[in-house]
């Protein structure tokens, strides 16, 4: 208690003007917090069937609650919702397992692949489960699918591109550089438009790739270019002596890279990689413009429901809060990974 008093005196009330300023700011902050809490919590309506249920002066969360199934699963058939839920759970488990560093690398990679394949099977169906077209996927499920699949495809490709850009082989180096500079130079919206609208025009008649798969491929190639540049930064930070030590023990190119260089380089660039993942997670919202309804898109669409007009504030605050929670979580996870690397 005494320590707190000392701290307060030293930091907030050291002089008379500072004390006045502190009190004013504390008062304003408290008042703002009280008003927000009143609107968002105490006066809010939490359940109901339409806008009319929200008679209080507060926020109308009933809208979110009534729409929650669509917000999470999009247009997934009601009977198959469990598959969506289970798939999200499995994918989440796979990401956690990958992050945790439990199990030996080979076993971990196997388990993660298994979980993701199982999740993909639950989502798309076939082999005994009724098929669900990807046009029915939406909401948070779609955001999740694009982020995870996009990252998982982009990461190995990005690492290969980073190695390619440093390669001694001129052709490989030039191709990698061109690829990276091309994808880095165009906006993601353009990529998505190309994938959705232009790409099918180039396919021979009869051959058709799923729209989600096309969008995913675009997102993955786009993210791979960014990951490649982040990883290249890490490769350049390593002293030449590490390569020479590996070579002088008789290691070849791939052994040197996989056993010695990449484990160190990737550890150096965890903050940069986290940046790419977080940016990708937020950029998934752009799929709205090619007619796919991700988490934000479906909230946006729900706003035009005649039963729930005029609730843009609630919808966007909710979306912002959910995005923030996930991004903050990823940021913390990346920091933990960094620290784990340092103690090792």
């Amino acid at each position: 208690m005494k320590r707190h008093a000392v701290w307060l005196r030293a930091n907030l009330f050291a002089t008379r003007p500072q004390g006045v300023l502190s009190l004013t700011i504390l008062f304003l902050a408290g008042w703002a917090l009280w008003s927000i809490a009143g609107w968002a919590v105490f006066d809010a309506t939490w359940s109901g069937d339409s806008r009319d249920a929200c008679s209080g002066g507060g926020a109308c969360w009933a809208f979110i609650a009534a729409r929650s199934r669509q917000i999470i699963f999009g247009f997934f058939p009601q009977m198959e919702i469990w598959r969506g839920g289970l798939a999200i759970g499995l994918a989440f488990g796979a990401v956690l397992l990958l992050w945790s560093g439990k199990l030996r690398p080979g076993a971990r990679l196997g388990a993660v692949t298994g979980l993701l394949v199982l999740a993909a099977w639950l989502l798309s169906g076939g082999f005994g489960l009724p098929k669900i077209g990807t046009d029915l996927w939406g909401g948070f499920l779609l955001t999740f699918v694009i982020t995870i699949a996009g990252c998982l495809a982009a990461f190995p490709l990005g690492v290969l591109l980073a190695l390619g850009r440093q390669s001694q082989l001129t052709v490989v180096r030039i191709l990698s550089t061109c690829f990276i500079e091309f994808w880095r130079g165009i906006p993601l919206i353009t990529v998505l438009f190309m994938a959705a609208v232009m790409l099918p025009l180039f396919f021979p008649a009869g051959l058709e790739a799923d729209k989600l798969v096309r969008a995913l491929a675009g997102v993955a190639l786009f993210a791979a270019a960014y990951i490649a540049e982040v990883v290249r930064g890490g490769l350049q930070a390593l002293p030449r002596g590490q390569y020479e030590a590996a070579w002088s023990l008789g290691m070849g190119y791939w052994q040197t890279m996989i056993l010695v260089i990449l484990p160190q380089a990737l550890r150096h660039v965890i903050p940069g990689l986290a940046n790419v993942v977080i940016a990708l997670f937020k950029d998934t919202t752009l799929v709205l413009i090619i007619g796919m309804f991700d988490f934000l898109g479906i909230l946006h669409a729900a706003l035009s429901d005649p039963a729930w007009l005029g609730l843009a504030m609630e919808a966007y605050l909710f979306a912002g809060l959910v995005f923030w929670i996930f991004c903050f979580g990823m940021s913390r996870a990346a920091r933990a990974l960094e620290h784990r690397g340092r103690s090792a």
């Binding site: 590490q242 020479e244 023990l249 008789g250 052994q255 090792a344």
Partner: protein, 245 residues
């Protein structure tokens, strides 16, 4: 005695700089050769040409009968037979000492993990730091790191050991522990090439000294003769300066 390493009129340029000038050298199997000379004399380049970290521009180098060329297979074969210790240790910082030692035997030579580990512990014992096996390189002193680096090279059970200024990056009291380990190794009959300014090391470990300056070999003699009565003025001045330091 057959030759472990031969150089036949080897030339090497770094741009306009002529670092190795028509070098002819033969190191018989089992010989311990010290390479001395001022910085920039080409001695490090010479030893790095042996395991192909540098490629010569003309001439022939052959190691245990294998000509050093650009083929990755030859280079891998030569590097497994010729271990190298660097001035800056170059341990792998993301691996424990034990994993540093086991990595190449397991992944390059295909030794089973248990055997690789036994071998690693054996060589850690030999360099007098068996208790550091579970630590990371950053937790060790410079002298300990260099001894781990020596053990790491030994774990591939090479027929030749190459040392590129192994004591130059160390504090004086650590120089002694590393020097002692190298001198002990010298007593085992393995072919060794030691690039060094460390006269104590050259004297105690080598049975032949070559003195290089400006890319050429100026003297080739026994340690006793080189240190007591060098044949050239250049070598005399070099030795005098070392004694003053």
């Amino acid at each position: 005695m057959s030759a472990a390493i031969t150089f036949q009129s080897v030339d090497k340029w770094f741009g306009a700089l002529h670092v190795l000038k028509s070098i002819d050298l033969e190191v018989p199997v089992g010989q311990r050769l010290a390479v001395c000379g001022p910085s920039g004399s080409g001695k490090s380049t010479l030893v790095r040409c042996i395991n192909g970290l540098e490629r010569c521009d003309s001439g022939e180098i052959s190691v245990l009968g294998n000509p050093v060329d650009d083929s990755p297979e030859t280079l891998r074969r030569i590097r497994q037979k010729a271990g190298m210790v660097f001035q800056q240790f170059n341990l792998f910082p993301h691996l424990t000492v034990l994993d540093n030692l086991c990595l190449a035997p397991e992944r390059v030579a295909g030794v089973p993990r248990a055997d690789a580990e036994a071998r690693a512990r054996h060589y850690l014992e030999r360099v007098h730091i068996p208790e550091q096996a579970e630590k990371y390189p950053s937790q060790l002193s410079g002298g300990q790191q260099q001894r781990v680096a020596i053990a790491r090279a030994l774990c591939m059970e090479p027929e030749i050991m190459l040392f590129d200024e192994p004591t130059s990056a160390l504090d004086p009291e650590m120089i002694r522990e590393v020097r002692n380990v190298i001198v002990e190794l010298a007593g085992e009959g393995r072919t060794m090439v030691v690039v060094t300014h460390d006269m104590g090391l050259a004297r105690a470990a080598a049975d032949r000294v070559i003195f290089m300056d400006e890319g050429g070999i100026l003297e080739d003699s026994s340690p006793a003769q080189f240190f007591e009565a060098p044949g050239t003025d250049r070598a005399r001045r070099f030795l005098n300066r070392l004694r003053l330091d």
